[in-house]
Symmetry: C3
Subunit: 458 residues, 3 copies
Amino acid sequence: MTDSSTNMRLKLPITCFILEIILIILFGVLVVYDDDTDAKAFRTSDDTDYNNDFYYRYPSFQDVHVMIFIGFGFLMTFLQRYGFSSVGFNFLIAALSLQWATLMQGFFHGLHEDGKIHIGVESMINADFCTGSVLISFGAVLGKTSPLQLLIMAVFEVTLFAVNEFILLSMLGTRDAGGSMTIHTFGAYFGLMVTRILYRPKLEQSKHKNSSVYHSDLFAMIGTIYLWMFWPSFNSAVTAHGDPQHRTAMNTYYSLAACTLSTYAMSALTAHDGKLDMVHIQNAALAGGVAAGTAGEMMLTPFGSMIVGFLAGIISVLGYKYLSPILEEKLKIQDTCGVHNLHGMPGILGAIVGAVTTAVVPKEVYGNGLIKVFPDVASGDRETTYQAGVQAISLVITLAIAIFGGLIVGFILKLQVLGAPRDNACFEDSVYWEVPGEEHFEEELTAVRTEETDKMNS
Amino acid sequence: MTDSSTNMRLKLPITCFILEIILIILFGVLVVYDDDTDAKAFRTSDDTDYNNDFYYRYPSFQDVHVMIFIGFGFLMTFLQRYGFSSVGFNFLIAALSLQWATLMQGFFHGLHEDGKIHIGVESMINADFCTGSVLISFGAVLGKTSPLQLLIMAVFEVTLFAVNEFILLSMLGTRDAGGSMTIHTFGAYFGLMVTRILYRPKLEQSKHKNSSVYHSDLFAMIGTIYLWMFWPSFNSAVTAHGDPQHRTAMNTYYSLAACTLSTYAMSALTAHDGKLDMVHIQNAALAGGVAAGTAGEMMLTPFGSMIVGFLAGIISVLGYKYLSPILEEKLKIQDTCGVHNLHGMPGILGAIVGAVTTAVVPKEVYGNGLIKVFPDVASGDRETTYQAGVQAISLVITLAIAIFGGLIVGFILKLQVLGAPRDNACFEDSVYWEVPGEEHFEEELTAVRTEETDKMNS
Amino acid sequence: MTDSSTNMRLKLPITCFILEIILIILFGVLVVYDDDTDAKAFRTSDDTDYNNDFYYRYPSFQDVHVMIFIGFGFLMTFLQRYGFSSVGFNFLIAALSLQWATLMQGFFHGLHEDGKIHIGVESMINADFCTGSVLISFGAVLGKTSPLQLLIMAVFEVTLFAVNEFILLSMLGTRDAGGSMTIHTFGAYFGLMVTRILYRPKLEQSKHKNSSVYHSDLFAMIGTIYLWMFWPSFNSAVTAHGDPQHRTAMNTYYSLAACTLSTYAMSALTAHDGKLDMVHIQNAALAGGVAAGTAGEMMLTPFGSMIVGFLAGIISVLGYKYLSPILEEKLKIQDTCGVHNLHGMPGILGAIVGAVTTAVVPKEVYGNGLIKVFPDVASGDRETTYQAGVQAISLVITLAIAIFGGLIVGFILKLQVLGAPRDNACFEDSVYWEVPGEEHFEEELTAVRTEETDKMNS
């Protein structure tokens, strides 16, 4: 298993140290506390403490945080010999991404007149969101990259994410609170392009490790369930205070519930002998959250949310069953976790639902609350149909930046020096990790072997 | 393992699709946002956002949500070959139940003058509560039912739960914030009757699978610990704002702590050689939460809470050790998870403690807060002793509806078409799930076998 | 494995019952609801409910609670045959400690003029904090003690913790919101002294069990990630409302992120062949939380926080790699979890950073908010330099009480009657737990064995 190019002894420490030192210097120069975080901003009357944004958003932040580190991390432990890397690389690149995202998002749309980036709980959530996008891309290349490649991918992807987010949210006034476009569509198509460029024709040499075992599927269900439970918090984390946050959480809750039923139905219908397939349950049941990412804050109604979730589950299972094999064989896209089915197609569905909901629901339905959901419509600057058009164009822009960006970054990651594993060493922890001396079951197997051999020889 | 009746290829999809489409239609006709969720309800002054019920209850909701999906789901993974079904069927029937519960609870006690069901975070919590009751019943029949049987059970049980809840909370004015009666007693005795009707005289054919292995017990502890930690949130999730929520959480916290000590004590005392038994730790340590479900919001004091928890732990361990074998042998009740010991008896204890606390604590102790805990007493409509009588009668009603309901539903579930597993295929995932090609340990076992056989033959 | 002295049949129940009954009696005599928890305290105007401390602190409390029971519990499951004890004894001693801590902390610094201990959500957090300190010490002796020894250790350690906390926070006016000194330094050095006194020269007899297996390392990562994610809540849980809570959470978030990068870098740099070592990732990545425990609430800035976290990760990995072997060989300190590297040295670093930050940041930087962070400076009673001196002295006092206390308690725990395991039975669940009849893999191994033997004989 040892191979000089995959040896991380110097490459990984040097990269981590350089990146972290750059981050620290930039934070020192550019970042300050915002008004709700700075001691100086304290108003003498104690009564206003409950108005600190911390109390509106911190519980949501922690739910999102759990999704990023436990949800994504454990979802990917389904591989039998890649659990350390799934949780461990997820941890590493998330820790990098959230710092870099603070700077990039702050630079593009958080700079104050003092030239500084002002941060607080909302910027923390946004940094975690951007990190989520990187982790989606990680799912596409899972098992086939070195930690060094992942760190480099994260640096570029965070930057492009911030550019796309800036164009959509700041320049165009697109609404996308739960990130159907900015997070899911972007992360999925970026990752799919990267894995396309990194195509390995001989990946079947590691095929026997590209599958789950009984316990690894249970670990993965920890990830699935946490993502499922906290998705209402994800979609509502940065909406306006009050009813929008409340409504978004509720819409997502019902979308996910409906999605779960259609996922189980489609899994039994399409799988062998009517048996349920863990791959579908672990992934497609989450598509309802992705698909409610844009329209969740709108007056979608629980009824509309359930229809969206119901469709998302169907599309996602069909993708796993029929589309993924085609993508791999015809388009040479080796998508380890099937992010196209969980984030790609449901993300596009979410963008379309967002545009349609914007166009179809009359602005009178929002009453006074219009300003919280469509401020540009409330101010009279644009009509709902115009806003709907903006939503649709935003999807196209996101796809373009993601695909073009993934293409470039894929080529950068091909650099030999970055230490990708050989084709027969993919999906294997021991390339980059000290793996414990093997389980005692194997020791006993050896004992049996020895014992039997002794008997044979005697 | 293949068996035409257990084949879910058409049955499960058809059932899921029909149920979900009915749900979507009924939501479309009947359900609207409540005042804290609707954009139109936004009051122009921004200051009132913190008064949105979302900020009082959403963190509690998410804790309850974790209990339902992770807590119940993983608690049941203790079986060695039933982890996929434990987490996976839990996921499926919970996703159905919470949608159906929204309608049934809304129909029975949430209809507004406009004939619509108004929903928000509190109805989400109540839907999760009702789901919890179904999952308790699932624990009684665990390993012996098809997913189809479970969906049918959920539809009926949710309906009866809503009827019982309506009689208690709306008609009688019973207090039961944490659901000692409505959730735990109801779910347990309903499930026990169902499993009684589904009695399998030849279940010993699957006996070797009706037990844990080392890792499965650790997965189950994830469920246990999450239930234990978040039970304070469960009991306080729908109490009145302010001190009742605060007090209920605290009472439950101390009840659980005391319960844990008596559970460990009783486990060592009753088990073989003074060794601790994981079954007790995984279950009985939670009885203190169940038993504080009714009186938790009252002025029970931490002192009273600790006594209640202490007793609940003792009762529960004794139930696992001495009563469960009797129930199985004499009454033919095969209670896989021992829900009688964790939810049944502690639920009844909780109901009794609630009635006694109501009767014994003078209303003066509540001061101005009386209106939040006993509104009918505060308004002068009834005395505390009368309220205590109502509490006691409520337990009897709950038991009657649960037992009678479970009886009927048990007979419905006997329908052959529902695809129950054969006696020798209980507690086995592979009946309804694609189980991964077996762990590499077994592959190596095969390798050993082949190798040895080759040697024998040569 | 059976051994009369390790038999807990009577010892454990008697101890648990006596302790719990004493606790219940003392709670009955001494403990009452505080103003935000008592029904009587309800003010007739409904508007003030959002001012109940419950809404400021309960989400943080639950995060801390998860750290205590899931975080610490699962972090210690890395041992291959000690998972039941890691989670289970963690559960038992935490349940005891939080009750005893409520009384001890209440007695030392919570007594009101009515001679009662008034409790609410803040005292619950403080009780969990004190429990955390006991669990740190548990990490040092992990695998080598009976549950009885642990209960006795908890009783004494909680008492001494409360004394130290009283001296620091109440008498000296030390600032230590996240407990770099009171929790981490105290718990670590107390535990290190206990394990020194309990030194086992023949511990290598259990050496083969003092290591991880593949799955146990994944279970441990659940603990790690939860601790990492919720550390911002830990450090901010009892700071003043508003900006201090917000700022502390954010400082800790960036400290941890920087720490993670330096941990991965150092792990690859120091470990065999540049491969990452799970021991470092599971532990050292958390040192950034410990090191931000004192200065987190101060105007440390994200920049400062990241430097602190960066250094903490480096120190911690170096400790695991180079210092732990020396401590074991030269000083006879067998520190199972390496608490010296995760809590000891980072705790001291945190205390020093706290003193330096106090001294260096001009009080003008705090503006009106000075009263929330340094009330004694705001009131004019002392200068920041004096406060910094107090901070430094507090570290010395903490170390003295922890080391001296651990020394005494270590000798108490040597009592034979407490049932410590023999040297060859350490790190083994089956001494105190019913362990399930072994996994089915082993059954199959037996089957292979029998089969082969039959063939041999035929």
